[in-house]
């Protein structure tokens, strides 16, 4: 089949010449053969896993959240160039948008629902590992649901045989009920011949918390979207993304924090390195909805450019319809600073080694937040092989 879809819509469109309003996935002659998620491993007690759940049942899970979002809609006009209406049909708004849902539905991909029961604190991480062989084209869907006052950690790791061709498309939806916490870690170390997309949509209720850590290290072309709806009072979204793009890798991302509730908090950190002819498009949006009084949002992007042939697109958006908020965005983009280089050199580290050290430092600063030593070691090894 051919696959053609528009994803990663910027929540508020801007000039067309910036070519950042959305991105197109256009693949010819792919043969999607596997649409089942691998079994989650290391499932602690109190956590249940239900496989092959239909969209109708997933919709039921999110119904209460959907109603709550609706009740908060004050019918006010959106931003100029609003793309919110494009994705209205989604069960829950995701970063990449409705066309991922449509594809999954068309390919009859069923969800694996992982649920932490009320009050269950599952401290040990659950692992879901996709290991692709040459030619594999796989789609997968998960729902992670943390019931009231529970906590759950899920680590998803994607790798493949070296030089393996193929496609891996993932959709993960998150529901953190009152007082609950979801830690989601995604580590992508696919071969550079892989095409990869990964879509996240989340809902956070009162006092609940979603923490996402993403390491994008492999794949030739990657699309990544993440939209978290901060629905409840005092809900929190923390995100840390580390990426390393080299050769002709492309990385297209769309992060959105929809802040509906009072006193919500979002913190997003993006730390990346571009080498060779790598191309990256970053969209990051803080959206303070009417009624989100007392909310704060912070988005920090830090990109190291280490080749004259890279392309770096950045669109950091802040949308605001509420007076009592504090939103910030900062971006630093450029090569290794003179002061950094001088300090390193004064300790005998030459320019080339200093660059490698700084690449490792950036990746390491995100990777070490992952609560699994073995994966950190695998990431370190992967980076060492690259460098």
């Amino acid at each position: 089949m051919d696959l053609k879809m528009k994803v990663n819509h910027l929540p508020a469109l801007t000039y067309r010449f910036l070519k950042s309003n959305d991105s197109e996935i256009d693949l010819k002659d792919i043969n999607i053969e596997d649409t089942v998620s691998p079994d989650p491993e290391d499932v602690p007690s109190g956590v249940t896993v239900e496989k092959n759940v239909s969209e109708a049942d997933v919709a039921k899970l999110f119904q209460a959240a959907k109603d709550k979002i609706k009740s908060k809609d004050k019918g006010l006009a959106g931003p100029n160039g609003d793309t919110f209406p494009l994705n209205k049909g989604q069960i829950i708004r995701s970063g990449m948008g409705i066309e991922v849902d449509n594809l999954m539905d068309e390919m009859k991909v069923l969800s694996t629902v992982i649920t932490a029961g009320e009050g269950v604190k599952a401290t040990e991480p659950i692992h879901i590992r996709y290991s692709l062989a040459d030619g594999d084209c796989t789609l997968g869907r998960q729902v992670i649901c943390a019931k009231k006052d529970s906590e759950i950690t899920v680590i998803m790791e994607y790798d493949s045989e070296a030089e393996a061709n193929g496609l891996l498309g993932i959709s993960t939806r998150l529901l953190a009920e009152e007082g609950a916490k979801i830690n989601l870690i995604k580590v992508q170390m696919l071969s550079e011949k892989q095409v990869h997309f990964d879509d996240i949509g989340g809902v956070v209720d009162d006092r609940a918390d979603i923490d996402v850590i993403t390491m994008q290290l492999g794949a030739g072309k990657t699309w990544h979207g993440c939209c978290v709806n901060l629905l409840g009072k005092n809900s929190v979204f923390n995100n840390h993304t580390g990426y390393l793009c080299r050769h002709e890798q492309t990385y297209d991302m769309n992060y959105i924090a929809d802040q509906y509730g009072e006193k919500t908090e979002s913190n997003m950190v993006f730390r990346g390195v571009l080498l060779d002819k790598a191309e990256k498009t970053f969209r990051g949006t803080l959206d303070f909805k009417a009624g989100s009084s007392g909310s704060v949002g912070d988005e920090q992007e830090d990109t190291l450019l280490l080749s004259p042939d890279v392309i770096n697109r950045t669109v950091p958006v802040i949308l605001c319809q509420e007076e009592d908020v504090d939103g910030r965005h900062g971006a630093t983009i450029g090569q290794l600073g003179d002061d950094t280089l001088f300090y390193m050199q004064s300790r005998g580290i030459d320019e080339d080694s200093a660059k490698k050290l700084m690449i490792r430092a950036r990746m390491e600063s995100i990777a070490r937040m992952i609560p699994d030593e073995a994966i950190i070691v695998r990431i370190q090894q992967f980076i060492r092989t690259i460098l």
Binding site: A12, S20, L305, I311, R313, V317, E323, G330, I333, G334
Partner: protein, 469 residues
């Protein structure tokens, strides 16, 4: 904090809103809409050279082909069939203020225009609806070889070739729908040429007044600052409020030659029925500097993003802007910059205030091309929300194509902090004054870039906004 103090009122615009009843015999008004027939008539009326007539007709074709942007404020309520492209007073342009017809003169005098000239300007141009009614340059400035004239005279006069060479080369009609429209029906505006090495110490000023209801103003400003020269150009805009839409689709083309400097200041205070779809662009050569100071207060809807092309090595630009979006306004403003030359630098700093249901959008683009080694850019945009029925959005885009660039970006959105208000009140200020002082302080980086009389006007506008009464 009491709700009472959060209510903010509309600016007292009475001085701008005084309309002159246009006596039909005194004015020539083109029928509404934009057709080939109308464009031909305008061309005839203006005694265009042949190339300009062709240019207009080609532009009109483009206008009909091009689509509206899908990203900006809604323009559905702007019915182009109800806009008159050309309204002219049946008077020739005057070189002496006394000769300007009484009613027009009254309008400008109420706005303080000739007064400003007497005090601190090197030259003044005043456009009333579609044509310039007054143009004057101080002798000592003219003696330096500085040319400041209306576009029509420039088109056929001594500088005809220069105009032909530069006209809509920087903003081609293909650029977007309203640039095409401008190309088809443009009228009025100023031509400025500052010869090599000439430094004009005091500013030149153009003032645009759109008086006729349902009319469009399409003035064209072309400024060439030759090598090593220096100029400050100020433009002011206003219109009385009508219940029908007015349209402003002007075009400003600025050429800043090697080692020259141009500062272009705008205070835009169109009435709130105006669709301000204006295009401004500067081409900056080696070692030259472009400075923009931009205050957007008026209009119903604005699309305004002055663009700077840093073509020459070591060229620089600085953009300082403020936008004040009040009730019923959707002001989408910002800046664009393209770094082409090496060692180029840009600094964009904007402030945006939203209140009473107004929508303020900061939108920008920074492009650093592969050849622009050692480019440096810094963008900082702050938004202030004065209530919870307004919108303040920030949509900056960047496209960086070289590693050898230093890119910094900062955006902040927030409110007036209760602590700051409390602090000032503890020193004896009323809450109202405290809030006004904080907003003035917020706008200060912009007002300090304006000529004094404009800074004073801006601060008065802010005080009026904040006084609640």
């Amino acid at each position: 904090m009491s709700d009472n103090n959060k209510t903010v009122v509309d600016i007292d615009r009475s001085v701008y809103d005084i309309k002159d009843v246009e006596n039909e015999q005194d004015f020539y008004r083109m029928e509404d809409g934009f057709t080939e027939d109308i464009v031909r008539k305008i061309s005839e009326e203006k005694h265009d050279p042949e190339w300009m007539k062709e240019f207009r007709l080609n532009s009109l074709k483009l206008y009909n082909e091009l689509e509206m942007p899908d990203w900006g404020p809604d323009t559905d309520e702007l019915d182009m069939n109800l806009i008159s492209s050309y309204v002219r007073s049946k008077t020739d342009m005057k070189g002496k203020w006394e000769d300007v017809p009484e009613d027009i003169k009254n309008t400008f005098e109420r706005l303080g225009i000739p007064e400003a000239e007497r005090e601190s300007l090197a030259g003044v141009g005043a456009q009333y609806d579609s044509e310039l009614v007054y143009h004057n340059v101080k002798d000592e400035v003219a003696d330096q070889g500085v040319v400041y004239t209306d576009m029509e005279s420039a088109l056929t006069g001594e500088y005809a070739d220069m105009v032909h060479e530069y006209f809509m080369k920087l903003v081609p009609p293909t650029d977007h729908k309203y640039a095409a429209l401008h190309g088809a029906v443009w009228s009025g505006g100023s031509f400025v040429y500052v010869p090599k090495g000439v430094k004009v110490d005091i500013p030149l000023q153009s003032y645009f007044r759109l008086n006729a209801a349902g009319a469009g103003q399409f003035e064209h400003t072309l400024i060439i600052v030759d090598e090593g020269a220096d100029l400050h150009f100020i433009e002011g805009c206003s219109a009385p409020k009508y219940n029908v839409a007015n349209l402003h689709a002007g075009c400003v083309e600025l050429f800043v030659k090697k080692n020259a400097r141009l500062r272009y200041s705008t205070i835009e205070n169109w009435s709130k029925n105006m669709y301000n779809l204006n295009t401004k662009r500067a081409l900056v050569e080696e070692g030259a500097r472009m400075e923009w100071v931009s205050g957007s207060f008026g209009s119903h809807t604005s699309y305004l993003y002055p663009m700077t092309i840093l073509k020459g090595d070591h060229s620089t630009m600085e953009y300082t802007g403020i936008t004040f979006a009040g009730k019923g306004q959707n002001l989408d403003t910002g800046a664009k910059v393209v770094h082409q030359g090496k060692y180029t630098s840009s600094l964009i700093s904007t402030k945006s205030i939203s209140k009473s249901g107004g929508i303020g959008t900061y939108r920008s683009s920074v492009i650093i091309n592969k050849e622009a080694k050692h480019a440096k850019t810094s963008v900082s945009c702050d938004s202030l929300m004065l209530d919870s029925i307004s919108r303040a959005d920030t949509i900056p885009g960047m496209d960086i194509r070289t590693d050898d660039a230093d890119v910094g970006h900062e955006a902040k959105i927030g409110r007036i902090s209760d602590e700051a208000v409390f602090y000032l009140m503890s020193r004896g200020l009323s809450e109202e004054d405290a809030r006004a002082m904080i907003v003035s302080g917020f706008a200060n980086p912009v007002s300090k870039e304006l000529p004094l009389e404009y800074a004073v006007e801006m601060n008065n506008l802010i005080k009026l906004e904040m006084s609640g009464g």
